[in-house]
Amino acid sequence: MLEKLIDWTLTLTIVAAMALLGNFIGYEVMPLAALPGMISLMVIVLIGMIIHEVLPFKRLPAIAYIGLLAFILTIPGVPGAEKIAEWTAEVNLLALTTPILAYAGISIGNSWADFAKMGWKTIIIGMLVLLGTYLGSAIIAEIILRIQGIV
């Protein structure tokens, strides 16, 4: 367990350092200013991973615990919520996405050969599947938000 924890921490540190750099280059936030926020995110992630690891129930992914934890910790009124929200506001969302998709790009190379073999039918259906999910959800959300007068 401890070994895993150290391992996760080191890996997260590398990704976090890259995101801090991207946050500086792309969004002009000084790395030191964003550091407390980044550390808060890392701690939340680690606690979430530990919860996932310890619980015998594995059907929920680790990210479910991480998201829930981050959410609860920043609900107004929870001790320290304001500080965490303030710190993490310095970490630009888009700066986090860039290293993720760089790793994703490298990892998809592995499936490239299978992808190249894929027929045009699969590609059309694949696009419809993605669009169906995305637009389907957006349309339902829009209808309800309009009924409620939120948008």
Binding site: K4, D7, I14, M18, L21, G22, I25, G26, M38, V45, G48, L60, I63, A64, I66, G67, L68, A70, F71, I75, A85, T88, L93, L94, L96, T98, P99, I100, L101, A102, Y103, G105, I106, S107, I108, G109, S111, W112, M118, K121, T122, I123, I125, G126, L128, V129, L130, L131, G132, Y134, L135, G136, S137, A138, I139, I140, A141, I144, Q148, V151
Partner: protein, 265 residues
């Protein structure tokens, strides 16, 4: 994706390649291409996925590193998920107000069955259709289908091909289309924000990015909605497939094929 792979941090060459990609892409910055009335937003993350893929074909990256990169996607997505969470917490009052929309849009994920399944049958595919269209075919669905039908069954082949398609094309496709749709369709960016909870970290990131960049004044609420929707999908997604998506795809499939054979007969 498994999160048990260890010593990921040791592969300095892989991280160095990603570091260089991050620096280059952030320096290039965001660019906007007008398309008719709308626009496609080119974000650093979009160049990053393409440069990353290109790097795979150079001697810099080998197959082992590419597999490690897959686990690293999981590890880095966790930070994004935490960011979602801390953005959603302070917006709790707004989230409660938008609760009905957040809950019901989860069912929008089923729209993919209604739209894609008949087209797949029309194109002449058979039971592969069920594996392909019952969900967007990420890891959990791969597990579900192989448990139920076996991975070498037609359903299994279907879900595998969707998995590969989504892996390669998902982030790029949604990264381009989400900004385009938001700029041409009469749908609020807040509704699109709720739709970004797709069930795949990299696809969520790719579809949310253009929304945040195009509507900076609403970016906090957009991220909060996206985070809440993501959380809902990560908790309910698999069960949605087990109890609704898959049975619905099965019924719909047999109904359409019956209809088709009747028309022929």
């Amino acid at each position: 994706m498994d999160n048990n792979s260890t010593h990921l941090w040791k592969d300095w060459r892989l991280h160095l390649v990603v570091l260089v990609i991050v620096i280059i892409t952030e320096l290039i910055g965001t660019h906007k291409i007008p398309v008719g009335a709308g626009a496609i937003l080119l974000l650093p993350m979009l160049y990053a996925v393409i440069i990353g893929l290109a790097a795979f074909f150079t001697p810099l990256i080998n197959k082992v590193q590419s597999r490690k990169a897959e686990s690293l996607v999981f590890m880095s997505v966790t930070l994004l998920i935490a960011k979602f969470g801390v953005q959603a917490g302070p917006a709790l009052p707004e989230l409660i107000k938008a609760g009905p929309a957040l809950i019901f849009q989860e069912f929008g994920n089923l729209a993919t069955i209604l739209v894609a399944l008949p087209v797949a049958i029309m194109l002449g595919l058979r039971r592969e259709t069920i594996g392909m269209t019952h969900s967007i075919g990420r890891e959990a669905n791969l597990a579900l289908i192989s448990e139920k039908y076996g991975i070498s069954s037609p359903e299994g082949r279907g879900v595998v091909s969707m998995y590969i398609f989504g892996t390669i094309f998902g982030a790029i496709f949604l990264g381009v289309t989400s900004g385009l749709f938001a700029s041409i369709l009469p749908i609020s960016p807040l509704s699109f924000a709720m739709a970004t909870g797709i069930g795949s970290g990299s696809m969520t990131a790719a579809s949310l990015g253009p929304l945040v960049a195009m509507y900076p004044e609403q970016s906090e609420l957009i991220t909060a909605y996206s985070g809440a929707s993501n959380l809902l999908t990560s908790v309910t997604g698999l069960y949605m497939s087990i109890f609704i998506g898959l049975p619905m795809a099965e019924k719909y499939y047999s109904w359409i094929t019956k209809l088709k054979s009747k028309r022929r007969g």
